[in-house]
């Protein structure tokens, strides 16, 4: 029952006596009568028993290594180098709290400063916070922030927005009553710029993603930014950081705020979490003052030596309470550190290579899948590819699963207009054999269905 974690279990009497109490119950004398109860919970167990039990439960999962898997749609199988995992498991990092005492937290503070700096280089902006919960909440907070900065109440997003992020955005903006307006996609799966122009008036912010939900690289990023700026709106760009070795920094494309998912670097899939959100803004006072989240700054110590510390805290809840720019307190620091280590590992060449490999693998996949299905949108894909089938996709999914292959993310429940489509994804981890097995089996399944 875990008494081995509780050193003083053996010294109750001794300690009570020293402080003049008779029993543990005395320490709970302030609790109203009848409150204390016996809980209906299992007895504690030994570590070995838990080891067997948890192994048994976990073994019910089938990992992506155990079946070729083509799921993406906002969560991707990237390889995490072993040293990244080792380093963030060092107890000085993982068991520390938010670095309130800077003098004994320089390691975590500097690591987070480096995270901010590396993200700053990637996205081309100077102000980066120490992480949000994930891309979705970072985007939602960017929407709220846009409204505070511009004092307007409409936020424009693409119709082809990730269903998860769509839901998060709606929940986050419900309280303050922001209006969410959707802009259509055009026949090439790109944002319909004409539609945007019609809707942009009185917008607090305009949001697009690189790549977009269909895996396509949006081609008119600069133009969209200009349309937003002309209308007095902030330009908010969501980005998958693994593309930034091959695509220009959003900051250089006009973005005022950049959000994204930093766990694509340095973290495993983890069934969807922990993740960590990127939030970066231009170096402008009005933006900095309204940004959410924790920020680490460089300063010096009493001897003039370089040091790091949490800074710009007057925006935060523990100081500003109800008037804070956000309620965020715990963030995803360790995920950010893992991303920093992974970014430092890749360096400029590695990040470029990573982007290129993914582009090439995606192109290869597109080529192969087009043997058996339709690709409704041309353009350059990164990771995700929208694929349309003649056969109902749920049937295909079932058949693939029987053959120990996991297909893509079924789109019909979310975008009925796309019919029997699914998002299939590849990354640098995808093996040629996996694609071959998929195509082979798809051919068989489709032929079977045709009969």
């Amino acid at each position: 029952m875990g008494r081995h974690y509780i050193p003083n279990s053996a010294h109750k009497e001794e300690m009570l006596k020293e402080i003049g109490f008779k029993s543990i119950e005395d320490l709970f004398s302030d609790v109203p009568k009848g409150f204390v109860k016996e809980f209906n919970l299992p007895e504690g167990k030994s570590e070995y028993e838990i080891f067997l039990e948890m192994n048994e439960i976990l073994n019910k999962n089938k990992t992506i290594l155990e079946m070729p898997t083509f799921l993406g749609a906002g969560a991707y199988f990237h390889y995490v180098p072993a040293h990244v995992k080792y380093l963030i498991e060092r107890s000085e990092f993982i068991t520390s709290y938010t670095p309130y005492q800077a003098e004994i937290s320089q390691g975590m503070l500097q690591a987070l400063f480096e995270y901010q700096s590396l993200v700053g280089e990637l996205v081309g902006l100077e102000i980066v916070n120490a992480s949000m919960y994930d891309w979705g909440t970072a985007m939602a907070e960017a929407a709220l922030m846009s409204a505070r900065v511009t004092k307007k109440e409409k936020f424009i997003v693409p119709t082809h927005l990730h269903p998860e992020r769509k839901k998060v955005l709606h929940t986050y903006t419900a309280g303050p009553g922001l209006e969410i307006e959707y802009v259509k996609w055009n026949e090439r799966g790109q944002l319909d710029v004409e539609d945007l122009k019609e809707k942009v008036e009185s917008a607090a912010g305009v949001y697009i993603e690189i790549p977009n939900f269909f895996g396509l690289i949006e081609e008119q990023v600069k133009e969209i930014g200009e349309i937003a700026h002309d209308a007095g709106a902030l330009f908010v760009v969501g980005v998958d950081p693994t593309i930034l070795g091959v695509i220009k920094a959003p900051g250089d494309l006009g973005a005022d705020i950049v959000v994204g998912e930093t766990s694509f670097l340095g973290s495993a899939l983890n069934f969807g979490g922990p993740r960590a959100g990127i939030l970066a803004v231009k170096n402008e006072r009005k933006l900095i003052r309204q940004m959410p989240g924790r920020v680490i700054g460089m300063t010096k110590d009493a001897e003039g030596k370089r040091a790091f510390v949490m800074t710009l805290q007057t925006r935060e809840q523990h100081i500003r309470r109800a008037k804070a720019t956000s309620n965020i307190c715990s963030n995803e620091a360790l995920v950010a550190v893992a991303a920093a280590i992974h970014m430092a590992t890749l360096g400029p060449k590695g990040l470029q290579q990573l982007g290129e490999i993914i582009l090439k693998n995606t192109a290869y996949f597109k080529e192969r899948i087009s043997e058996v299905a339709e690709i409704p949108f041309d353009g350059i894909n990164f990771k995700d590819v929208l694929v349309r089938f003649e056969v109902p996709y749920d049937i295909i999914h079932e058949e693939l699963l029987k053959r120990n292959i996991h297909g893509g993310f079924y789109l019909r429940p979310h975008f009925q207009e796309l019919g029997e489509s699914a998002l299939f994804a590849v990354t640098e981890t995808t093996r040629k054999e996996w694609v071959e097995i998929l195509i082979e089996n798809l051919k068989e399944i489709i032929n079977m269905a045709r009969l």
């Binding site: 948890m54 700053g120 929940t171 003039g304 490999i357």
Partner: protein, 493 residues
């Protein structure tokens, strides 16, 4: 010692990686205007990277380094066995959109964890989605909002919060669009019932409470409080940050709370990672279940599945299903501790806090305001010391670092001047407590005899006292900012 920034360790040409080759070498033409042309990341080899972050880690204090008694943070020991399952390939290499039949283990973990949390808190259902306490608070107040709107009570736009509350409480309420009504504590450090009576009205959506509160004091009038708020049509929200003080003995649900959030990274031993990832599951009573975020994890007696069919749901406060590997850690801990173990946790946590309270009480310079009996934490005031010697709480905190100890939470709760908020948790030893008290007594002695040594502390740390005023005045947030300022000659550090 000083460890250079990773950028300063860079030498062009070095690589820290070897990537697999692409499947086929297909040429892709990125449009010129979108093509990346420069990227100033550092270039290092793997051994250099490992050495850099190893050294940085050695400049950091964690729970494994020693006592870490941050009040309201519950920095208990994080069992290593938790890590084993959190890092298990069967937990890390699964995709959130996998067919449910292929992730029955993951869903079982979530479902089982929910059953534990329900019994521990006395609530009827839980969402495990929130990534942190504040994220849970936001979900909770959004549920309260949805409930009132659903009932047509659109006028209920106020949330009551005691002045001793965590900052996240008012911030979360505000984010959900509520007006925050703050009420004062009485001289015992508890909610002032009269003030509460005056605050409630037909505009009251609810009250957010911590119990034991941030002073470590159990709100004895909790049943009365619940009655007042419920009678006014409001709901009670329980901030679970301090659950460690009553764990396994008393349940928020039995006290009348309608919504509860729990910090798994506090009460249930998952490591805090220097600021996250955490997890802030939210539990509700039956009448609020339909407003929970989607999806819920269900079990039909044979298989586990995700239920998105909640038309009145508040939606989502985070992508996917929460910080899954944090949930794995918490369940591991719960299974290990079991019923008696959890009770032992709160009993010893409370014993330790009161032991420290009684041992420190009466030391010159520190005052113990409010009631003596505490639960898991205690708040002393160093106001007398400040008056007598000019030594501030901040100085005391910094001086503690010189003893190889972590400071308590300071200047919080706001209602105690020069507050020192100490939460030892159940995983420290009697010797640790004695050493902590001894250090605080020693500092008191120093303050009254040689205050300079305290005021200029710390002296034995990797860096001396850090200038946070300069940091705010001249913000340097990234390497690119630093380089610019350096070029202009505006920084010498």
């Amino acid at each position: 010692w000083k460890e250079p920034l990773i950028f300063e360790l860079s030498k062009p040409g070095r690589v820290g990686f070897t990537l697999p080759a692409p499947i086929e070498n297909i040429k892709i033409q990125i449009p010129e205007h979108l093509k990346r042309d420069q990227l100033e990341l550092p270039e290092l080899s793997e051994p250099e990277i490992v050495r850099h972050y190893t050294r940085l880690s050695e400049m950091n204090y964690g729970v494994d380094s020693g006592m870490y008694p941050l009040g309201s943070c519950t920095m208990k020991y994080n069992p290593k066995i938790n890590e084993e399952f959190a890092n298990h390939p069967k937990a890390t290499l699964i995709h959130p959109y996998q067919d449910e039949r292929t992730v029955q283990g993951a869903l079982q973990i979530m479902w089982e964890l929910e059953q534990w949390l329900k019994e521990i808190t006395g609530m009827d259902r839980f969402t495990l989605q929130p990534a942190a306490g504040a994220n849970g608070e936001f979900a909770g107040v959004m549920i309260i909002r949805a409930y009132h709107l659903d009932k047509g009570e659109t006028q209920r736009n106020e949330i009551i919060v005691p002045d001793s509350a965590h900052g996240t409480n008012p911030a979360s309420a505000a984010m959900a669009g509520f007006k925050v009504i703050e009420i004062p504590s009485n001289e015992q450090g508890m909610v002032d019932l009269e003030a509460l009576e005056n605050a409630v009205s037909e505009r009251t959506a609810g009250i957010m409470l911590t119990n034991p509160n941030t002073l470590g004091i159990f709100e004895e009038d909790i049943l009365e409080i619940a009655k007042i708020v419920h009678k006014a049509g409001g709901l009670l929200y329980y901030d679970g940050a301090n659950l460690n003080g009553i764990l396994g003995k008393i349940r928020p649900g039995d006290m009348g709370f309608d919504v509860v959030h729990i910090n798994l990274h506090k009460t249930f031993s998952t490591p805090h990672g220097g600021g996250g990832p955490g997890a802030g599951p939210v539990g509700v009573k039956e009448h609020l279940v339909e407003y929970l975020p989607v999806p819920l994890v269900e079990f039909d007696g044979e298989k586990y599945y995700l239920n998105y069919d909640l038309p009145k749901s508040i939606g989502k406060v985070k992508e996917f299903y929460g910080n899954f590997t944090v949930l794995v850690r918490a369940l591991t801990y719960l299974k290990m501790m079991g019923r008696e173990g959890l009770k032992e946790v709160s009993e010893i946590a409370v014993l330790n806090a009161n032991y420290l309270t009684q041992k420190l009480k009466g030391t010159k310079g520190y005052e113990l305001p409010h009631k003596e009996l505490r639960k898991h934490e205690v708040v002393f005031s160093a106001e007398p010391m400040k008056k007598d010697t000019g030594v501030k709480t901040l100085d005391v905190a910094k001086r503690l670092l010189d003893f190889g100890l972590h400071a308590p939470t300071i200047y919080f709760p706001l209602i105690v001047h020069e507050a020192l908020m100490i939460e030892p948790t159940e995983t420290v030893s009697k010797e640790d407590l004695d050493a902590y008290v001894e250090a605080l007594k020693q500092i008191s002695k120093e303050a009254y005899t040689n205050p300079e040594i305290v005021k200029t502390a710390p002296h034995n740390t990797a860096v001396r006292r850090v200038d946070d005023v300069l940091a705010a005045k001249k913000p340097i947030i990234t390497w690119r900012m630093y380089k610019q300022l350096k070029e202009k000659g505006e920084v010498d550090y």
